[in-house]
């Protein structure tokens, strides 16, 4: 059976995964320079070996609310077409291989915003892992920005 590797991480106690091939690296340098007047989903920019990378506030992106004052501890650098983004997350887990057979589409009553970002869910024996769409994240941040401009 076919397996694909996923990088796993935690946000707000939930367990997430993203295709490992899209992940450039994990980085624990979280020195983010805030950019005033930027979209809420963009926390600021950070320096990745001389390259400027926008730091994405995943709580804002996924519509989660922070229940504690704890800051994110690590960032996942995604390598996209032409540019990279850093996803700020609470913690990272191991890279895990997942079988296609455990995959399931998001349920129909899933919210529209989440539908853009969430590809679906894998049913692991002990818990669920929510699979995010790397392209969806990049698009979402872009779309949000346009909406802000219109209003």
């Amino acid at each position: 059976m076919m397996t694909s590797d996923y990088a796993s991480f935690y946000l707000d106690g939930l367990y997430f995964g993203i295709t490992a091939t899209e992940v450039l690296e994990l980085n624990n340098n979280l020195d983010v320079t805030p950019v005033p007047k930027s979209p809420k989903t963009v926390r600021g920019i950070m320096n990745l070996r001389g390259q400027l990378v926008p730091a994405i506030d995943m709580y804002q992106c996924l519509g989660l609310t922070k229940k504690t004052n704890k800051e994110e501890t690590i960032s996942i650098i995604l390598q996209g077409d032409g540019f990279s983004v850093a996803l700020l997350v609470d913690d990272v887990g191991p890279i895990i291989p997942l079988y296609e057979s455990t995959f399931e589409q998001p349920p129909n009553n899933f919210s529209l915003v989440s539908r853009e970002l969430v590809l679906g869910v894998h049913k692991l024996p002990e818990r669920l892992i929510i699979i995010l769409d790397p392209k969806g994240i990049a698009n979402f941040v872009g779309v949000k920005k346009k909406q802000l401009q219109l209003s």
């Binding site: 320079t33 005033p36 963009v42 070996r49 941040v141 920005k145």
Partner: protein, 787 residues
């Protein structure tokens, strides 16, 4: 290497060939007899033909083949080059260029019909066209025969003496008989081959010509071709190098911590290597401006032919280097300005003669370095800006009322040229007159941090000066603090910094139709608060606060930006913010600081427009512009300072580059000069009290910081030492000349019941020169300061 890569290389090569051909053709028209040049052109087209055959680009091959045929005839002297042939050859080039561009876009040869072009080329090549007075056959024989005769002795004289000399040399060096016989044998062999060549040359004229050109020593030695590197790769390398510099910075402190000899020396090596690497890396991006200029001879030829004007192009400083990305950015503006110069500026030959000017108009392109900027001047000796037409047009477009227009002077009228949609050209030609002109030029130039000035004395031509930063990637910036973050302001937009003590200032902050303003030397300056702008808070300074204001110039308006703290000046490497943050107009980019943190760079234009200040100021001008310019004409800005014994001295502000405070222990001796290290230069210090009548020489021993006015002579700094610098004043241009003349003084002006003595910088410089060298009065003041 994939097929696509090979194709890309072919396109790059083809473009280079076409660029070179443009120049060569125009040169050829001036010197039609230059056989070497024809040979070069022929070979270039031939190369193009060969490569296109390899890629099976049939259209390209056919056109270049037809061009080659005509060129071959010209090269062989069968046909003479005239304007008609040049024009058709140039249009061949254009066709080739279009095809190449098509290939670049789609990797396929674009569709198109070249049959008429090819037919014309071949017709001209066979001499069929009406322009040749001789019959084709007689021309062929008549022209080629003497040419051939001329060629043969050339072959013989060039080749034969060489072996003879060789022989005598060998004979002298080696008295051995056998060896000399051997040489003689080789020599006779040589001669035999040469004779063969001559015979074959007689048989076929084409081949012989080929041979002569191949034998040309200058052309035979190939210069090692420079390696072509993808710009993206260079950018990436540049990024890595700057990152390495930062990593090095982090490494340096450890040497003191560990104090291990081997470790320290390894770090020092890394330090030096990084430094050198950084410098070299910067150089790789620099390219001579001639890269852009190569296209201009052709442009001028085409445009002037179309306008039926006669124009020569003079280029100076073509070797001046600029960053590659800037070269791309200035190309279009320059093309536009040059077109304007010919189309609007230069008069028709008959008008020029009537105006007492030479028939041939001149366009001068000059690039020079000036204070870390590149200045590009485009000057023509044409009629200059038609001010009356500008005024008429301004009234027509209801930009000003008729009465106001009458009062506008030439300088103010020039401002209109930069407005969008403003064109004085009555008729729209395909060259200019569409009104999308100078405003676009100005926008493009200011986008890269440059500025543009026009000077156009009536009837004497137009002089346009573009000031361009050396590189886009690195620029000096002032760091300021707002709230908790550091922000960088590009130095190019900063006019001055003002510290305003609201408690002691009489007027403080005032309100002008809802815009906060303050008075700077009796002019109102609108204010923006950076903390409001960046939406941190809406706090206004309390009435007893001291506020820091950066006076900025942008989008044609001057305004003050209030910041929380002024930090340091630093050179920054500008990096784009990326697609996600591009829409935030307040920032032009970001830079990485020494500690690895990112700092944002403010986009002053964006800030001014975003805040609505530009619109406000344009709708309701703060200062009556006409009066302010009127004042400027009669008044001159001076820097007021004092020396012991003389407390009201002034130096024209145009002579002042910077003001510095120097600690006395920094002053060193160079012979009998006092010098200090100043940037990359050694700056000579002149104690002004030694040169001016009435000043009491001051004791130099005390440990007081020295105030120095920095003045530049021939790009070298000279420090004028004064006791104290006071203020900037505006005094009348008309000076009262002292009688009898006073040493070191130009004259005096009165300002509010005080007499201000204006110093004579030229005379002081001459005096200092005389004092040191005890020679005669120099014609040109050249300071003997060595860097």
């Amino acid at each position: 290497m994939s097929d696509d890569d090979i194709l890309d290389e072919f396109i790059i090569e083809a473009r280079e060939i076409l660029d070179q051909l443009d120049i060569d053709f125009v040169r050829l028209e001036e010197t039609p007899d230059d056989k070497k040049l024809v040979g070069n052109i022929f070979r270039a087209i031939h190369t193009l033909k060969g490569s296109s055959g390899f890629f099976a680009f049939k259209r390209l091959e056919k056109v270049s083949h037809a061009g080659e045929t005509l060129l071959g005839k010209i090269r062989d002297g069968v046909l003479a080059l005239d304007t008609q042939k040049t024009t058709i050859l140039l249009s061949t080039l254009d066709t080739l260029r279009i095809i190449i561009e098509g290939i670049e876009k789609t990797h396929q040869e674009p569709e198109g019909d070249d049959t008429s072009l090819i037919k014309n080329l071949l017709a001209l090549a066979s001499g069929d066209e009406i322009q040749t007075p001789l019959t084709p056959s007689s021309e062929l024989t008549q022209v080629s025969t003497p040419d051939l005769v001329a060629l043969i002795p050339e072959v013989v004289s060039a080749e034969v003496p060489a072996p003879t000399e060789e022989k005598t040399d060998v004979e002298k060096e080696l008295p051995n008989r056998e060896s000399s016989t051997v040489t003689a044998n080789t020599q006779s062999n040589n001669q035999a081959s040469i004779t063969n060549e001559i015979v074959s040359a007689e048989e076929a004229s084409e081949e012989s010509t080929e041979h002569v050109f191949a034998a040309d020593p200058g052309k035979n030695i190939e210069v090692a071709a420079p390696v072509k590197v993808n710009l993206e790769l260079l950018d990436k390398l540049m990024n890595l190098v700057s990152e390495m510099v930062l990593a090095r910075n982090r490494l340096l402190p450890f040497t003191t911590e560990f104090a291990h000899h081997g470790f320290s020396s390894a770090v020092r090596t890394i330090d030096l290597l990084t430094l050198e690497l950084q410098e070299r890396m910067m150089k790789t991006r620099m390219q001579p401006i001639s890269q852009v200029w190569t296209k201009f001879p052709r442009l001028i030829r085409d445009v002037s032919n179309e306008c039926q004007k006669k124009v020569t192009l003079i280029q100076e400083g073509a070797e001046t280097e600029l960053d590659r990305s800037l070269l791309d950015a200035i190309r279009d503006p320059l093309v536009h300005i040059i077109r304007n110069s010919i189309d609007h500026g230069i008069e028709t030959p008959s008008d020029r003669i009537a105006a007492g000017k030479p028939e041939m108009g001149k366009v001068l392109l000059r690039a020079t370095h000036e204070n870390g900027m590149v200045v590009i001047e485009i000057a023509d000796d044409g009629a200059g800006v038609n001010f009356d037409a500008v005024r008429q047009k301004a009234i027509e477009k209801s930009l000003v009322s008729v009465q106001e227009a009458e009062k506008l002077n030439d300088l103010q009228l020039l401002e209109f040229i930069f407005l969008p949609g403003f064109s004085t050209k009555a008729k729209v030609t395909n060259l200019s007159g569409r009104g999308v002109g100078m405003d676009v030029v100005k926008t493009n130039i200011s986008n890269i941090g440059g500025s543009i000035d026009i000077d156009s004395p009536r009837g004497k031509g137009t002089n346009i000066r573009l000031k361009i930063p050396l590189t886009l990637a690195i620029m000096p910036a002032l760091f300021v603090r707002c709230h908790t973050e550091k922000y960088a302001i590009p130095q190019s937009s900063i006019l001055e910094m003002v510290r305003l003590d609201l408690a002691s200032d009489k007027t403080g902050l005032e309100d002008f139709y809802g815009t906060p303003v303050f008075r700077l030397r009796d002019k109102l300056v609108p204010l923006l608060f950076l903390n409001h702008q960046l939406e941190f808070n809406q706090n206004l300074p309390s009435p007893d606060e001291v506020i820091n204001i950066a006076i900025l110039q942008s989008s044609g308006i001057r305004f003050g930006l209030v910041v929380d703290e002024v930090l340091n000046m630093q050179e920054v490497v500008v990096k784009p913010l990326g697609p996600l943050l591009k829409e935030v107009q307040d920032f032009g980019g970001a830079t990485i600081l020494g500690d690895g943190r990112v700092a944002l760079i403010l986009d002053i234009d964006g800030l001014a427009v975003q805040s609505g200040l530009v619109a406000k100021v344009q709708s309701r001008p703060l200062n009556e512009t006409s009066t302010s310019i009127l004042e400027n004409e009669e008044e001159i800005s001076m820097l007021l300072f004092e020396l012991s014994g003389l407390d009201k001295l002034a130096i024209p502000l145009e002579h002042v580059e910077r003001l510095e405070i120097v600690m006395p222990n920094k002053v060193q001796k160079n012979g009998n000069q006092n010098v200090i290290q100043y940037g990359n230069h050694i700056m000579q210090l002149l104690y002004l009290d030694e040169y001016i009548s009435g000043a009491k020489p001051h004791s130099r021993e005390i440990e007081h910081p020295i105030s120095v006015i920095v003045h530049y002579v021939n790009d070298l700094p000279i420090g004028l030492v004064v006791s104290q610098v006071h203020d900037i004043i505006h005094v009348s241009k008309k000076l009262h000349e002292p009688s009898p003349p006073q040493r070191g003084l130009l004259g005096c002006a009165s300002l509010a019941e005080n007499v201000i003595n204006i110093i004579d910088v030229q005379e002081i410089l001459m005096m200092s020169q005389l004092g040191e060298e005890q020679t005669q009065y120099p014609d040109v003041i050249e300071m003997s300061v060595s860097a």
